[in-house]
């Protein structure tokens, strides 16, 4: 008897699936009829009632589809993909909370992945935009003893190589140069120039779009000056006008404009500072002659002949370079022996950022995977709630494939919708990324959301859609009809299978989040370490501007004579600016700027120092410079106004130099010779990290400006107000002395230089921290979801336990234990994964082991805390279960 109301309740539910017209006409009749059957069966016993119930329900179920088909109603279990799509869209709209959460999680993941992919694709993955670009290689000359040597070479070597080698069809030399062009205000602007041999255009297989390329005649010394403009510069300066007969003033000389490169051509490829002017490389007589000048400033690139591999070319170039070097013993003092390498141009350009970029791509892939696992989890939860619907659709004759397809379509729709939002977000993300990215990343100008990136995003969306659609699809498409009907109106496929699957997904989420957070901790710790390093001076609030006499090679000696008075006039003019504070000057290397000048060291009466000790960084400074920068005096005295040109020649050394050259002795009063000047040591000052916080100090000397000839100097001041407030007045003061003084204003403060030095660390930290936090939040949502689900599943069980005397504490403990188990497995797996993958980050860490236990401990703590928080709410809910209500609920 007790079954009758239940059967009728289910019957009512089934009848709800019928077309409205049928329900209106016959629902009551059907129910009355079934009730009559049940009543008549009752005297025959429970089995008879059950049989009647089952057959009545099945009978009702069987009619649903045919009845709809008869009415041409929209809901069908058969039909094409179109129906699946309509059905999925409606079903998603019917559960807006699920859809919103899933969409946001996925859209964030896809936006992050698309942004990073667009960067990595443009910078690393894409080939160079030249015909058969993989046939272009660079020839680099190295000193095996100096691994930091940059691979540039001598003009004499290039000319001999070009003459003798057989591997390259064309071999070009190039070097960067700054041109000064007069602007409308009468001052000078700087232009980025590239001097190239005529082979350059053949190597790249690019010809000017307008005009002609360079010819052999253009390389002869004294040939008419011809320049080729970049397309962008042509548009900027000449508005795209006809170039025939036009000239441009560069370095006070008239140049004929010979051509314009094609639109989109930039060199270096995709650089944020591409070349604006290509000029013919005219080697001077001294540069052609062995025994002439030695200028290590030429890069060499070539196009390989057909059939010649990079390795073969390298073998041959090694032989050629060794022979050239042997024929001119001692000439190539910087890179003796003819050690050359041949490297694909693409590799040369991006080799140093590839690992870094791929690491970022890996990190974002983890984030996307977490997002996918989370959405799969959400879909599983939904599938559980929809178990009844699935059960019915299966009972109505929908095949397993139909149901699977429906869920897959739902997953795909979700993923594609998220991808659309994600791509929109990533357009903004790419803009943000380009603004935030540290300087010096190659091909940064090429970063954009283009068709290639879009295609990758859509592919990723489809794959993720299938990935998180398939799991619940396989689970949901196997509904247990009896179970789903018995469970009444509430959740149905409450099988342990689903619970286990959801648990597994949480474990995955936690594990992936651990990897991200370990990475974030490592990068953060590195950054903090670097930021905490005392550079030995106070760089904050220092304004620094470079001034110098214009040089032409012929007037070098004369210019050296004019340099000091010129800088002193500039200092006097700037000191007159109100609120500028003391103004000092340094020549030979502003700290943190990357510039340095070294001089040969000789100690009178001692053998010449060897190796690293043979040279010393030497700064030429005004007397107040050291105090202004806050460089400590250790012994002796600072420089003073009394150190004059005609007086005793003096020098200050830093602690490292003192230790190195006079270990255990008092260096004050000792004599030291820097190049041709012998000087007396009058003071020892503290070490500073001249080349940035990460590079340990080396030996360093400070000599008075009054006793040294210079061409240029950096004016250094510490204005009491913000440097930017006085900058315009300082510039104006400089220009009153010389209207043509070029001022580089992209970096004018030491803070700016410092920022540039730590930018990559800051960037890595920020990005990984962002990914880590997102991963953490998403995983926490996942944990919350599973625990809340668990509690709702077990409400009845919890009620029974409490009715039998379990305390609220015990119930909370039960939920916490459940959560802790999942989280613990996730943490263990995640730590293991991080242990093996963190070596990828090793190269980017500062004085930190990639397996630093503190990073692991921090990640575990953070995740455990988040997990606890995520479990607290469901646990509270479990503790609040009223046994009576829980037991009555059915």
């Amino acid at each position: 008897m007790s079954r009758a109301p239940f059967t009728l309740a289910v019957l009512r539910l089934i009848l709800r699936l019928y077309p409205a017209r049928f329900r209106a006409r016959f629902a009551n009749d059907v129910i009355a009829s079934v009730r009559g059957e049940l009543e008549r069966a009752a005297p025959a016993g429970r089995a008879a009632v059950a049989r009647v119930s089952a057959s009545a329900l099945l009978d009702a179920l069987r009619g649903v589809i045919p009845e709809h088909q008869a009415r041409r109603a929209p809901v069908r279990v058969g039909g094409g993909i179109g129906d699946d799509v309509r059905y999925a869209v409606r079903s998603l709209r019917q559960s807006p909370t699920f859809t919103m959460v899933a969409l946001s999680v996925l859209a964030l993941g896809i936006a992050a992945a698309t942004t990073i992919f667009s960067v990595v694709d443009a910078v690393v993955l894409r080939g160079l935009p030249f015909h058969e670009h993989d046939r272009i290689a660079a020839v680099l000359e190295h000193n095996l003893q100096r691994p930091q040597s940059v691979g540039s070479t001598l003009p004499q070597n290039y000319l001999d190589w070009r003459e003798r080698q057989q591997s390259f069809a064309h071999l070009a030399a190039l070097n960067r140069i700054t041109f000064y062009a007069r602007n409308d205000g009468g001052g000078l602007d700087t232009l980025r120039g590239l001097r190239v041999t005529r082979d350059f255009f053949d190597v790249l297989r690019v010809q000017p779009a307008i005009g002609r390329a360079l010819a052999a005649a253009d390389e002869a010394p004294g040939a008419p000056r011809r320049a080729i403009l970049s397309h962008t510069f042509w548009l900027q300066r000449f508005g795209g006008a006809d170039i025939a007969g036009r000239t441009i003033e560069l370095n006070r000389e008239r140049w004929e404009i010979a051509g314009v490169m094609p639109r989109g051509f930039s060199y270096p490829v995709g650089s944020a500072q591409p070349t604006e002017i290509f000029a013919p490389l005219q080697f001077s007589a001294a540069e052609r002659r062995r025994g002439g000048s030695r200028s290590y400033q030429y890069s060499v690139i070539g196009r390989l002949k057909g059939g010649v591999s990079l390795a073969q070319a390298e073998d041959e170039m090694k032989r050629v370079a060794t022979a050239v070097d042997a024929a001119n013993p001692g000439f190539n003092s910087l890179n003796p022996g003819g050690n050359v390498r041949v490297l694909a141009l693409h590799e040369l350009l991006i080799g140093r950022v590839r690992t870094w970029m791929l690491m970022l791509l890996g990190a974002v892939a983890l984030l996307l995977a977490i997002a996918c696992a989370n959405v799969a989890n959400l879909m599983l939860a939904r599938a559980s709630v929809r178990g009844r619907e699935m059960g019915l659709r299966a009972a109505l004759g929908a095949s397993r494939w139909r149901l699977t397809r429906g869920l897959l379509v739902e997953g795909l729709i979700l993923a594609l919708a998220a991808a659309s939002i994600g791509v929109l977000l990533s357009v903004w993300g790419v803009r943000l990324f380009k603004a935030w990215m540290p300087d010096g990343i190659p091909r940064v100008a090429d970063i954009a959301i283009d068709l290639r990136v879009l295609a990758a995003t859509i592919a990723a969306a489809v794959i993720t859609g299938i990935a998180f659609g398939i799991v619940p699809a396989l689970q949901g498409a196997r509904p247990d009809l009896v179970a789903s009907l018995h469970a009444g109106g509430r959740s149905a496929t409450a099988g342990t299978g689903t619970r286990r699957l959801r648990g597994a997904l949480v474990v995955i989420e936690v594990a992936l989040a651990v990897v991200l957070i370990v990475g974030a901790s490592l990068f953060t710790a590195s950054f903090v370490k670097v930021a905490r390093i005392d550079p030995g001076f106070d760089y904050r609030g220092i304004l620094a501007l470079n001034v110098g006499v214009p040089i032409a090679a012929a007037q070098y000696k004369e210019a050296l004579q004019r340099g000091r008075p010129y800088v002193e006039r500039m200092m006097a003019a700037v000191r007159a600016v109100p609120e500028v504070g003391p103004v000092e000057a340094v020549s030979g290397g502003l700290p943190l700027s990357g510039n340095r000048v070294t001089k040969q060291v000789t100690l009178p009466g001692r053998p010449a120092p060897a190796g690293d000790d043979a040279e010393m960084d030497t700064r030429v400074v005004t007397p107040g410079y050291l105090q202004l920068l806050g460089i400590r005096l250790i012994r002796g005295r600072y420089l003073s106004e009394g150190d004059r040109a005609g007086g005793p020649q003096v020098v200050l050394l830093n602690e490292t130099a003192a230790r190195k050259y006079w270990p255990g002795l008092d260096p004050i009063g000792q004599r030291i010779q820097l190049e041709s000047h012998e000087r007396t040591v009058v003071g020892i000052v503290g070490d500073i990290r001249h080349n940035g916080p990460e590079i340990p100090p080396a030996q360093e000397a400070y000599v008075p400006l009054a006793q040294e000839a210079i061409l240029y100097a950096t004016l250094v001041m510490r204005p009491p107000k913000a440097p930017s407030r006085v900058l315009p007045a300082v510039k104006a003061a400089i220009w009153t002395v010389n209207r043509e003084q070029v001022l580089y204003t992209d970096r004018v403060t030491l803070d700016g230089y410092m920022e540039g030095l730590i930018a990559q660390r800051r960037f890595n930290m920020a990005l990984l921290a962002l990914f880590g936090v997102l991963g953490l939040v998403i995983s926490a949502v996942g944990i919350y979801g599973v625990m809340a689900y668990l509690v709702s599943q077990r409400t009845r069980e919890i009620g029974v336990r409490m009715a039998l005397g379990a305390s609220r504490g015990a119930v909370v403990r039960m939920v916490l234990t459940n959560s802790a188990l999942l989280v613990a497995i996730g943490l263990a797996l995640g730590c293991a994964a991080a242990w093996y993958t963190s070596s990828v980050a090793r190269a980017f860490l500062f004085e930190l082991d990639a397996r630093d236990p503190r990073a692991f401990a921090a990640s575990i703590a953070v995740l455990a805390a988040a997990a606890l928080l995520a479990t607290a709410i469901p646990a509270r809910r479990a503790a609040g279960v009223d046994p009576m209500i829980a037991l009555r609920a059915d």
């Binding site: 009848l15 049928f22 006409r25 016959f26 009749d29 059907v30 009355a32 009829s33 079934v34 009559g36 059957e37 057959s55 009545a56 099945l58 009978d59 009702a60 069987r62 009619g63 045919p66 009845e67 008869a70």
Partner: protein, 113 residues
């Protein structure tokens, strides 16, 4: 024609035949159909009303305007009545079935089991 369609046709035929005798309500139709088929056909309640709906829609039956004597009646019940079109359809269907049977029987006879 699918098996389900054939069954549906057969059931519809049985309902028409039942109503050809007298106006009946749902439960009565079910009982009558079971008796006529020797217990082989037991219509489910939902199936019954679906078929009744279809027969109503095609105009083969209608809801009865006259009701039995009050003491025999249950006022919640709806009575159904076969229309003239229903009788014609029933007759046509029976004639066709007989032709089908006469065509099918020899085939069965030639291949005894």
């Amino acid at each position: 024609m699918t098996a389900m369609g054939a069954t549906q046709n057969r059931n519809a035929l049985l309902i028409l035949a039942s109503l050809a005798d007298a106006d009946r309500h749902g439960y009565a139709i079910k009982k009558d159909v079971a008796e006529r088929s020797g217990g082989d056909v037991r219509l489910g309640s939902t199936t019954l009303y679906r078929l009744l709906g279809q027969l109503l829609d095609t105009g083969l039956i209608e809801e009865a305007r006259t009701r039995p004597a009050p003491q025999l009646d249950d006022e919640r019940r709806r009575y159904f009545h076969i229309t003239a079109a229903g009788r014609r359809a029933l007759a046509a269907e029976l004639r066709m079935l007989e032709r089908v049977l006469s065509a099918v029987r020899p085939a069965l006879a030639q291949r005894p089991r």
